[in-house]
Symmetry: C2
Subunit: 232 residues, 2 copies
């Protein structure tokens, strides 16, 4: 039952707010779960029955319109928290993009525990505030940027986030594998796959990037990419 002390996200997930006794208690309520790429964990509009920490893998949060148009509203990495505590309905689908491990709790158990442990709630609040800031910046991207600007931002953002996965030292990675296919990139940026493909090829033609395989990106000229986003 003492899986927590060996947990790889023990010190970066919200659990880091808790001391050993508390974490033992929370640990008893949690259940490990394996997700396979493509598996959907929660559905939009469904009652929120569970929340979870991501241990490993990448998941997407998405909402869609009746005619199939979809928008990815969040991407979630190891040590991130998913689900909607405190009663509300889930507002979006949660789907694994890669095989993934999560540590899940029943919503009601978690809610009760959180209310009894202010430090945990505080951690959750800080995370939620940071996520809100990030989501608001995303509004600017979707509402006011051109396709090229969106893509340049996206690539730089990914390069910054995927450092650790690439087990490099510090600084952003110049070569990395995206956990997304073209359709998912399009759903993140509010574009079509065709536009993503065309603008990516523009970047390639300008010598800014190389795309050696479907999901791999190599940044050849970071300053060039940054200049595209410099209107920011």
């Amino acid at each position: 039952m003492d899986h927590c002390s060996a947990c790889v996200v023990r010190n970066s997930a919200i659990c880091s707010a808790l001391d050993m006794d508390e974490i033992a208690l929370l640990g008893k309520m949690g259940r490990h779960h394996k997700l396979v790429a493509g598996q959907t964990l929660m559905w939009e509009g469904e009652d929120s029955l569970l929340v979870a920490n991501i241990i490993d893998g990448v998941l997407k949060l998405s909402t869609s319109l009746a005619d199939g148009r979809e928008q990815i509203v969040g991407v979630v990495y190891p040590s991130d928290f998913i689900g909607r505590p405190f009663g509300a309905r889930t507002q979006h689908n949660v789907t694994a993009l890669t095989d993934a491990h999560i540590c899940s709790f029943s919503s009601s158990d978690f809610d009760r525990f959180a209310r009894a442990h202010p430090e945990l709630e505080h951690k959750l609040l800080e995370r939620t505030l940071a996520e809100l800031d990030r989501t608001r910046r995303w509004l600017l991207l979707l509402g006011r940027m051109t396709a090229s600007e969106k893509l340049a931002h996206f690539l730089l953002d990914m390069s910054a986030r995927l450092v650790k996965q690439d087990c490099r030292a510090a600084g952003p990675a110049d070569a990395f594998d995206l956990p997304f296919g073209r359709q998912q990139i399009a759903d993140i940026l509010g574009l079509t796959i065709e536009t993503v493909s065309r603008r990516l090829n523009d970047f390639k033609a300008q010598g800014l990037i190389e795309v050696p395989s479907r999901r791999r990106i190599e940044i050849l000229n970071r300053a060039g990419l940054e200049s595209i986003t410099d209107a920011v």
Copy 2:
């Protein structure tokens, strides 16, 4: 000093989490402030020195690109909370759209008080979670909807939100004054003023709405507007 007990948002702002003793304490730290329409209270990138409850008026949160493109990332009404507690920089401008009253606190005072009062933090967390849900739905609007769909949504949303201001009983208001000019509507929806104007006239031509003055909207055919958003 006992302005709190007479405060109009006493029971709807985050203060409602507190009992009388606590509120007296918080009240001592708070300062009333009057804002004039157009006044900017906080600037993007600035250190976050204060947080506040809105007592009266409407404010916008916005971010912009160097070349002047602007996106409104939030609209804030009486009893809402603004500012970024817990250390981070303010990520957006906060500007009064109408004359407004706020009750402000120094960030550091508020942070300290909040950490000592879990009930307050909990309220703040619930609000932040709800705001995050709303912001994520907005991503869908910006990323995947057409101009007409955006506007129909916007009008229905406004009609629902402005009920109270119109001192009607229950149900959404069919006639109301927007607190926004055309440019602001455009900045909310990621459009230009020209497109807003044209699509609004389409609605008028279809008998869906009437626009008797610059800022007034009358919904003549709610079902018609709803059918435009029915892809949702």
